[in-house]
Amino acid sequence: MSIESTPQTKKGWRGWLGERFPIDVKVYEELAKEPIPKHMERWWFALGGTPLLLFAIQAITGILLTWYYVPRPDVAYESVQRITTQIPYGWWVRGIHQWGSQLMIITVVLHMLRTFTTGAYRRPRELNWMIGTGLLVITLSFAFTGYALVNDQLSYWATTVGTNMFAEIPIVGPIILQMIRGGMVVTADTMTRLYPLHIGALPTIIVTFIVLHVILIRFLGVTDLDKRERERLARAGKSAPANGKHEREASHFPFFPDHMMTELVIGMGVLIILVNLTILFPPTLGPHANPAETPSHIKPEWYFYPVFRWLKLFPLQLGLAGLGIGAACFVLWPFIDAFIEKRTGNRDVNVYLGFLVAVGAFVFILWELFALQ
């Protein structure tokens, strides 16, 4: 379609804009109406949009926080105190940002759990699963670097322990540790290194990953569970009804507006939860960081409990090696799964494993929550 040869068919601002921004709206309408499989009507399957909504909220509240937050260790704590107690509705913005981060982690994990247990990472979607594991790591890095900014006792010691783990990486570990900390221990330079990560680098990286994630979803479509089931039956030699055109219409529905509506309803629910949590449990601030003394009741944020308990159970190197191997299996799971299926013919390992890991993590969280030591 040459721009020159397109006659200006529309009058007024549509015509004006159409000439200067020559996109064919019809094509995009068509794209937005793309039919998607019926099972996506259920909320459990439509959880991917929720972290996106929450990230938008984090970006807005985060930018608001930067107007008063000062990332210098001598005044960081005081500036958070000022946001919480003096700036009108500062507690509100900080509370939304804090609870938003926790809900974002929960929804990312739920979304992951559903793609895992339904085998949505299988060929040809292996790369998108790996991009997804990247998104989880980025989300957790957001939470870790953000927590470090507060500079109260828990924040300081969480940063010390968290960064120290890098030192155990073979060969390059000590260098990485010093690069992150800007010195041997957590110092004035640590905060000025973590802050731009939290508000500049990580947002850029997460947006890039989200765009890649969505592009791949559009290219590959979401997994058609009905079709997969039919194929499975056919393989097993059982009668499998043909997939005619009518059937496709009956088993699919348009992305816009139907699926958009599901996303909106979930989004509304999440917003209601977010607002209520912020009102019921407004943000607090512990005592100022003190490098000379670790508080006797020290715990990270609850989403790090499984790792925290794990590190208590195993000697340092063994524990960290276990975490590293676990992380590698997690990223490469689509290929491990394909290998298991090829060897044993079993296609349900993901269901059992997903259930097991979820229950295990939950038990570890409860254990840490109620443990005395």
Binding site: A289, A292, T294
Partner: protein
Amino acid sequence: MDEAKQVGEEQGMTRRDFLMSAAMTTSLAASATVAASFGWQFVYPAVAQIPTVQVLALSLSKLPAGTSKVMKLGGNEVLLVNKNGAVHAISTVCTHLGCRAAWEESRRQFVCPCHVGVFDADGKVVAGPPPRPLGEFAVEVKAGNIYVAVPQKEGAA
């Protein structure tokens, strides 16, 4: 000569082209290396090694054999132990992931609150995940006074 050039062109590159791109690649690589080395120096922490300073702890007469005392020395928490006349200064920085282990006089052990590492009065691991005994600072007794070499604090944190 003409023929040779033609053969060269058929293979996709003349000698002149080749020398040109080799020179360009080499100089590009050289400037990239210089830039990378500058960049590395910029991001690498200024203070890589914390210097130690010797500080006066207390007079030997205040720490008779068989006793111990927790002290703050130059921002470091240290347990001073007099073991049959030999004075040891044990660091409270946990060897697991860097929290401060607290000295508990009643059980005469260090307990780290982070992942419950436990150390005895010599700094040896008794329980929990820490991989090494607690660190020791060099002690010198001069004219009846105990001096301990501790790391200088790297900056306000």
